[in-house]
């Protein structure tokens, strides 16, 4: 009998499918539509120390096989999250990944420290959000800048820690190696690609922030390459994502070296896409007599 269970840094996921941060809120909304407990886990909307209103103007734009978003980390802040949502999330049979972003080092640290007291499976440290002008972006581009924040957070964080990398990084492999060296338990990759759309009628960028983040099937081939490059160079496990929209895509990411895969944009194609992918993976395993995903993980 095939078993879709995977171990990620000592945490058991009943299957490798996780809903990606920012695309599933805190799980409540999709939870009303399908049985999210059939997934492996859920990564929360990116949280910051204080509540944020997010960006003004258009926040979503369609591109060929992709979308650009500029939500700008709208979120209720870690305190409200811990008070209002965490208990409910923990009541679910799901691995609970809390995604944390920030403006500056202090924000990250305070948010992470505050979360130490709560039950959480993983902190997913978003050093890569391209939307906040003064925030995420800068941390995730240069390895040595990122090192500082990873090191400080690692010192403070009592939870398992996975670092979410930006595909806009100068050298994503060295960034991942740095995370491993600094004691991260895993890598989540990739976040959105920095991109531009112009409203030619208005002669203005579509987004108030000018640049926004590209996700969806369009980016899959590049995200997959990055996961593979990193998987060849680090021993800590990877949550792979970027355009996954079918179980075949998920298997590609696993063969490229991912242990867990995350589904973001594809939930907008079909709210229960994550479920369809989890089922597809199981069927694939059974018909190919794969008993454990280890057998195909990283075989490229």
């Amino acid at each position: 009998m095939s078993n879709t269970k995977v171990d990620f840094a000592g945490v058991a996921f009943k299957n490798p499918v996780v809903l990606a941060s920012g695309t599933c809120g805190f799980g409540r909304e999709f939870g009303g539509i399908f049985d999210i407990e059939k997934l492996g886990g859920i990564s929360s909307k990116g949280l910051t120390l204080c509540a944020r209103d997010g960006n003004e103007g258009i926040r979503i734009w369609e591109t060929p096989s992709g979308i650009m978003n500029s939500v700008g980390m709208e979120n209720p802040g870690v305190h409200s999250f811990a008070e209002q949502d965490l208990e409910w999330i923990n009541s679910l049979n799901l691995v609970n990944i809390v995604n944390v972003g920030g403006h500056c080092c202090e924000d990250y640290l305070e948010a992470v420290e505050y979360l130490n007291q709560f039950l959480v499976d993983f902190i997913e440290l978003n050093i890569s959000c391209p939307n906040v002008k003064s925030g995420g972006m800068n941390f995730g581009i240069k390895t040595e800048v990122a090192r500082e924040i990873v090191r400080e957070v690692r010192k403070l964080c009592k939870h398992r820690l996975t670092i979410k990398l930006s595909p806009n990084a100068e050298d994503i492999v060295s960034l991942a190696e740095m995370c491993e060296a600094e004691g991260a338990d895993g890598i989540s990759m990739v976040n959105t690609f920095l991109a531009l759309a112009i409203d030619i009628k208005k002669k203005k960028p579509v987004f108030n922030n000018v640049y926004a983040g590209l996700s969806g099937p369009a980016i899959k081939p590049v995200a997959l390459r990055m996961v593979n490059q990193v998987a060849k160079r680090v021993r800590i496990p990877i949550m792979g994502m970027g355009g996954i929209a079918s179980w075949m895509d998920a298997i590609e990411f696993i063969m490229a070296g991912a242990t867990v895969i995350q589904v973001g944009t594809a939930s907008f194609i079909k709210p229960d896409m994550g479920l369809a992918i989890a089922e597809g993976i199981r069927n694939y395993m059974e018909s190919n007599k794969i008993y454990d995903l280890k057998e195909i993980r990283g075989i490229i």
Partner: protein, 235 residues
């Protein structure tokens, strides 16, 4: 997944389409429609024009990639309907004006019908503004008391808010804003139906946020219907 029952062209770019869908949807709600696999990525939000237990009717305007594809659908073709989503227009009574601009007229057929059913004593007048061709006059007349039509002009000039207890509106932002201004210092309470760009349609992604006096609200879940004051009162 539902089947198309019929899909009719009403004018150059307006279409009325009926699809199978068991539902108990209400006035003002919408569906996320999709008649393709993965391209384009997003489904399209379309309001409920009319419904019964087994089917929903949509009024849509062909403006781009997605709605153009809807125009190609024929009887028996499949379409994915996610919904009904969103809140509804309030169940109100009294003298009510429903004001639609362009394809913003869509939700007001079911709304007029529902409000008259709810209280047959209510007066429900419909105001429809079109840029070139008037549509569906006969249909709206069947469900409303008065139907005012304006082609090529400004429908809001035809309304005297003092005649009404409530004004419900849907259409271009500029129209809704002006109507809010016009109603502000009258007895009429105004509700607006917002048309932000959506992605998930269910409140999970925060791309549709609308600034309101009560803080950020999700158009897809907290809306699309908001008290006019909440949206335009803070501008």
């Amino acid at each position: 997944m539902g089947k198309i029952i019929w899909n009719r062209q009403l004018s150059k770019d307006f279409f009325l389409m009926k699809a199978e869908e068991k539902n108990n949807a209400e006035m003002g709600q919408f569906y996320m429609l999709r008649a393709w696999d993965k391209f384009p990525v997003l489904s399209r939000p379309i309001s409920i024009f009319d419904r019964d237990e087994e089917s929903v009717v949509f009024l849509y305007k062909a403006i781009g990639e997605g709605t153009e594809r809807f125009t190609k659908l024929k009887e028996g073709d499949e379409i994915t309907l996610e919904g009904p989503h969103g809140n509804t227009f309030p169940k109100i009574e009294g003298r009510i004006a429903l004001v639609g601009g362009g394809v913003g007229i869509a939700p007001f057929y079911l709304t007029a019908k529902t409000l008259k059913e709810y209280n047959p004593g209510s007066v429900v007048d419909v105001y429809l503004g079109f840029s070139d061709t008037a549509l569906l006059e006969k249909e709206y007349k069947e469900v409303a008391d008065e139907v005012h039509i304006n082609v090529g002009g400004y429908i809001i000039e035809d309304i005297d808010p003092n005649r009404y207890d409530y004004v419900l509106t849907c259409g271009p932002m500029i129209m809704m804003r002006l109507l809010y201004q016009k109603c502000k210092d009258t007895r009429a309470g105004i509700y607006v139906s917002m048309e932000n760009r959506l992605a998930c349609g269910v409140g999970a992604c925060l791309v549709c946020t609308c600034k309101t006096s009560g803080g950020n609200k999700k158009v897809c879940k907290d809306g699309p219907v908001f008290p006019g004051e909440e949206v335009f009162g803070i501008e």
